[in-house]
Symmetry: C2
């Protein structure tokens, strides 16, 4: 727990330091075998990239360093509870342990949409605030058919 | 609807073409003012990047081209229903219309975790398959306090 607290404070530090550079108030670090291997602050506005949340950037950096999309031996520390996008990224990376400081309601109080997106994601696509239109006969199954038959595929 | 079908087929094409290069069976295009401005296939394994889903890559490319994290005047076409990570990215990008071909259950049938992640995301953090530990007194509020007081901030 003391180690958790130390790494978490590094994530908070990344969040605080990034603000004056133009980042949002979020930070994350990724730890493997007791070492911080990636550290990032939010860069959405700075990088003109809506996906440049601290957690996503830290995951991308760690994956790049490890030459693998599999971060199952890593722990992610985040200054605030990950939003649905970052949570999805955490699952896809195979990360099995996440430690965070503030909660999603504190992010909402600061003006961020985390809570709203959490509520939207559970809805049926047809009930969401965004128009979701499925055209089931547009040939989408072709990609899965090719994948199924492709002998060189690497599942992930 | 004919235009929708055309753009959607381009997304499916990107999905199909990417497989033999080592990508997963997913593709996406982003359209603005009737023009495709970004197009991507999945590159998770290829790029060693668990976040390199077609939708995320297309969003990043479009944002880069437009020099803005705001894609509210864009439509996203995806060969398959976006996973929670991509859905989050769509919300953060401000995209208001999404057209897709296959559904999440078809992705699951092909061996992908979309359905599982959708079910995990709605759970309380303490009930998820991944350990989520909150340390609320680790100073996380400091980042929001600095953000609140920072006059140069650009909300997003």
């Amino acid at each position: 727990m003391n180690d958790d607290r130390y790494y978490l404070k590094q994530a908070v530090k990344a969040a605080c330091e990034g603000i004056k550079d133009g980042g949002g108030p979020f930070g994350a670090v990724i730890v493997r075998d007791g070492k911080i291997i990636a550290k990032a602050g939010n860069r959405v506005v700075l990088s003109h990239d809506p996906t440049a949340h601290a957690e996503v950037l830290a995951i991308r950096e760690a994956s790049d360093i490890l030459d693998s999309h599999d971060l199952s031996d890593c722990v992610l520390y985040a200054s605030c509870e990950p939003c649905p996008m970052c949570l999805g990224a955490i699952y896809w990376a195979g990360i099995r342990r996440v430690v965070f400081a503030s909660g999603r309601s504190e992010a909402s109080s600061a003006g961020f949409s985390d809570n709203f997106i959490y509520s939207e994601i559970g809805l049926d696509p047809s009930e969401r605030n965004i128009d979701f239109i499925q055209i089931p006969d547009a040939g989408g199954e072709e990609a899965f058919r090719i994948w199924e038959q492709y002998e060189g595929k690497i599942p992930y």
